[in-house]
Symmetry: C2
DNA sequence: CCGCATCCTCTCGGATACTG
DNA sequence: CAGTATCCGAGAGGATGCGG
């Protein structure tokens, strides 16, 4: 687990090579669709929104605001709009009084949250190491 | 591939439940180590740096700047410092004239780039869908 | 060549108050 | 309840020039 063999390394490089045919460094950043899509999907607030919607199938605006701790009205509604436009979530408004709006993941959003979850789990497992590294580095 | 069964959904929820014992919404954001570590590691520029260092075992400052298209001196050196502090990369300076500095991934960075790569591949595969969704949404 | 220091711009995002 | 509108401040980040 601690050592990476040469063959593993080459395997990774192969994958990256495939990737970087698309993330071509000679293209202007705004012409790279992967960068573009990632910048929305891996935004800090967006990821939290998606993760919570992965946990609760349906959430209303103020619940979401409560769980995504620290987010403001403005940013929450911005992110929700963009995430809806990109196809990760759906918005359902019920014309009651007071109005009720429910957000949930689309099928597409469901497939994304799985990927996101893998990364987050890695983060959770490894954050102690990172914090320890930081500590050590601070002493140099 | 297009449908998500109930059991899959529940499985995802279970994982998230495990996660959210740590990303507790009642904690202030600055006390959540996962948020903290993620904000560095999944930063837009940082991910590109790490991916390129996953592709090329060793890169010098100006090469890196070339591949991570659009990044400025300032941001590149900032990110490199933080990524070094967090243990993803190493910096080796050779006291020649002119000086030569080489960056590469640590073992830890290698393990991260694999995870990152999975996410990036998903992005690459699915970015057309997202762009199509955006298009459709724009017409509403 | 590496990358810091400076300056300056400009967007993001927080707070608050208000409306359908 | 679910946002929008407005204002405002902080700070991220770009450009440039210099120094080790």
């Amino acid at each position: 687990m601690e050592t990476v063999t040469e063959s593993q390394r080459v395997g990774t490089a192969k994958k990256l090579e495939k990737m970087f045919g698309h993330i071509d460094y000679r293209n202007p950043p705004e012409l790279c669709p992967v960068r573009d899509v990632m910048s929305v999907a891996s935004d800090q607030w967006s990821t939290l929104i998606i993760l919570w919607l992965g946990y609760f199938p349906v959430l209303r605006f103020n619940k979401l605001k409560k769980y995504v701790y620290g987010i403001s009205n403005k940013v929450l509604s911005q992110r929700l709009k963009v995430l809806e436009a990109d196809g990760y979530i759906t918005r359902n408004a019920y014309p009651e009084v007071p109005i009720r709006v429910e957000y949930s993941l689309t099928e597409f959003g469901q497939s994304y949250v799985k990927k996101l979850l893998e990364l987050t789990e890695w983060m959770q497992e490894n954050s102690p190491k990172v914090l320890a590294n930081r500590e050590k580095y601070g002493l140099l």
